[in-house]
Amino acid sequence: MTVLDARAPSGPIDARWDRRRFEMKLVNPANRRKFSIIVVGSGLAGGAAAATLGELGYDVRCFCYQDSPRRAHSIAAQGGINAAKNYQNDGDSVYRLFHDTVKGGDFRARESNVYRLAQLSVNIIDQCVAQGVPFAREYGGLLANRSFGGAQVSRTFYARGQTGQQLLLGAYQALERQVAAGTVKMYPRHEMMDVVVVGGRARGIVTRDLVTGAIEAHVADVVVLATGGYGNVFFLSTNAKGCNTTAIWRAHRRGALFANPCFTQIHPTCIPVAGDYQSKLTLMSESLRNDGRVWVPRGAEDCGADPAKIPEDRRDYYLERIYPSFGNLVPRDIASRRAKEMCDQGRGVGPEVAGVRRGVYLDFRDAIQRLGRQTVAERYGNLFEMYERITGEDPFDVPMRIYPATHYTMGGLWVNYDLESTIPGLFVGGEANFSDHGANRLGASALMQGLADGYFVLPATLGHYLGATKLEKLTAEHAEVRGAVEEVRARVDKLLSIGGKRSPDSFHRELGALIWDNCGMSRNAANLERALRRIPELRAEFWENLAVVGSGSELNQVLEKASRVADFMELGELMCRDALSRDESCGCHYREEHVTPEGEAKRDDAGFQHVAAWEWRGPDAEPVRHQEALEFELVKPVQRSYV
């Protein structure tokens, strides 16, 4: 085990990013077009980085698996984006946003990075408004804000319920502008299959053209991965169906350390699973908990009954009961865990899936009585419509049913302060890196981080890398490059030739259920050990009994899935291993062995105030756990309490 150095600058925290930027080497504008950059992913981080690097004059190629960069899953973020603008004059500041984020991450994030994020949040809003992002406004024409996710200040900027979409379209439009200008070449419907490492540096990628099946190498001077999170390891998540871990997992196998893989965030207000055919889960804005009351029947005998006929004294408003001061507004992880607990006790509601009712009521009856139907419709009308479209039930008549679902992964490739992974020349941005959120991400912070990385951090740090590094000329004919291409070809051929009976989806569903049950909202050593025994068996079966039809030289969606599931199989195991070795509770990582008397996550700062970063040692070898110690100079670690 080595101790990792984040290479964050020292000195006063508010001057660190300035200092780092001043120390950086610059690239002469006339020389920039001689440097080639590959950006994988076109969401907020990737799209913004590709556009900005193109503007700067670099020769950029951007890859995405979607048919257009505009479809990256950043588009689905509903709530908003935080920025320490203090436009509401309610006491917000860069320092407060920094403080809230470190605390919200349960003291498992790097202070220097979080401070930079809070500083850049201000520039992000300026940038997005200048691009024409139609943020909500007040009648005076200035930007509107709201309080989000329990924050005590109103620092969240939003564009109806489509903030992610509008921010992404801003980045997408900037990107398309560069495509038109010829500085960025876009490769849609391309899946990254591997990283090319030559002489210890990332020098390109291998892709599969999802239309023609062509497997090709693309060489460059530096590679950026902004390929999102790995929440789809659970099969059911709020991620898009195509979201996958392949890019970061392949980089991991090539030497990039994978940090905190067990930090996965569960969102409490999703529409429950309706049947075993379910393909994904839909998140509904957390704001619903502002006026909705969460309850389950007191006794299991009422669980199948019409909720309107269950009298008040037979309902258990459990969040209000356990957390009298916060009630229904407790943080995401607590609300999620308690819902699971109720369902585990057999008091869940809704249809039985695999013998258990997995759902709790989110009831607006009292809000409708108190505020009137019209006010409720104004506040939540679009969410009610969405709910009704999916479930066929009108929340005005029947209480909503909700259940937690995975929707964000704080873990990811380990990066230093410059967002460079442990493979020199391989930079990682957005959700794909282990990010600035520690063990738990606050609402409206994901968009902020993606754009900070893309518009501001990566363009600066990549310039430094290119300016400071002597790189040899490289062509696709280089032996290492051809070797990487051959490995990808062999892997694709292998997937096509197994000739088994089970579909990629059936393996994926089984893997997902296994991880959800053992490494989901609540974890313990026995379960994690069981999962660690079962996953290798499942993976072995995958490689013996996988069914893929069609060929590799055409659009083949089964093959795409199979390739992604193969990597999830390996990642899932690492998640369980990480969860088992982190013998404490923190943020989203809830180990049943480490609980305060009130039932909250109990950290072990002496033992685990560090980032765990895993090194790949081969498919059947145990990975090595490295550590980056975390220091809290400014925000002193305290125990969270909401009772």
Partner: protein, 266 residues
């Protein structure tokens, strides 16, 4: 009412862009009414795979109605019979047991079929490339609140910006016109102060690109608005026309010499 249904699907199957396509009949049984249309296709595809047949290819991603990836034409209606709904959010309770459905890809010369129900919509990206942006460099903007925007304009701009680029408007239009898509972006930016400096060039360049991609013209049927999952109004098309006509009238250069002297900031 039973929550299971049986359906007959006539699905367009086409191996590749250059191959001839045909309809293939599939019977699907015991479909839960709570499934989405795409989940119904998933179930069918799992069965096909188990039988060693090639599953039906269709584009999809977020499955929550925002990414714009999905979209098939069901009995002549893009995204199916429900209003303001993408195919991924269309649920099987919208159908009756025993129904026979025709499932086709978006059909337009500008959207070549890649396989089965998957089409190439990159023409829409190229329309945006022509001018669907504000030419602002990362890092150079002024404070966000130094650009006040009338709330009404901001709301109208947001209405237009809600477009998800799915292409249903093209699929629905009797002329396979991309006017609603193009108009939505021209409107979004024309309504905001940030969009003003490039307003004229944008309208002319985007219309020219739209035409250059081989889309048809607008004959004001309103089918686009009706099938748009985000309910984008055809008023935006009138605004695009107005923007274009005003820009063409005011332009100092002949149309076509309107090439943008955009160095992309390089």
């Amino acid at each position: 009412m039973s929550d299971k249904l049986n359906l007959v699907l006539n699905v367009w199957r086409q191996k590749g862009p250059k191959d001839a396509g045909r309809f293939v009949r599939y019977e699907v049984k015991d479909i839960s009414t709570h499934m989405s249309f795409l989940e119904m296709l998933d179930v069918l595809n799992e069965r096909l795979l188990a039988q060693g047949e090639e599953p039906i290819a269709f584009d999809h991603d977020c499955r929550e109605g925002i990414c714009g990836a999905c979209g098939v034409v069901i009995d002549g209606s893009p995204h199916g019979p429900s209003k303001r709904t993408t195919t991924c959010q269309l649920h099987m309770r919208s159908f009756r047991s025993g129904q026979e459905l025709t499932v086709e890809p978006w059909r337009a010369a500008a959207f070549p079929v890649l396989r089965d129900l998957v089409v190439d919509r990159s023409a829409l990206d190229r329309i945006i490339q022509a001018g669907g942006y504000v030419g602002v460099r990362s890092g150079s903007p002024r404070d966000a609140n130094s650009i006040p925007v009338r709330k009404e304009d901001a709301d109208l701009a947001m209405d237009a910006a809600a477009c998800i680029g799915c292409g249903a408007c093209v699929a629905a239009c009797p002329n396979a016109s991309a006017s609603l898509f193009t108009a939505a972006k021209i409107s979004h930016l024309a309504l905001l102060p940030q969009g003003q400096p490039e307003r004229r060039e944008r309208a002319i360049a985007m219309v020219a690109r739209m035409d250059g991609e081989g889309f048809g013209h607008c004959t004001n049927h309103g089918e686009c608005e009706s099938s748009c999952p985000k309910g984008i109004s055809v008023d935006n098309i009138a605004r695009m026309n107005r923007e274009f006509l005003a820009a063409a009238a005011a332009s100092r250069r002949p149309l076509g010499a309107e090439a943008k002297d955009d160095d992309g900031g390089a």
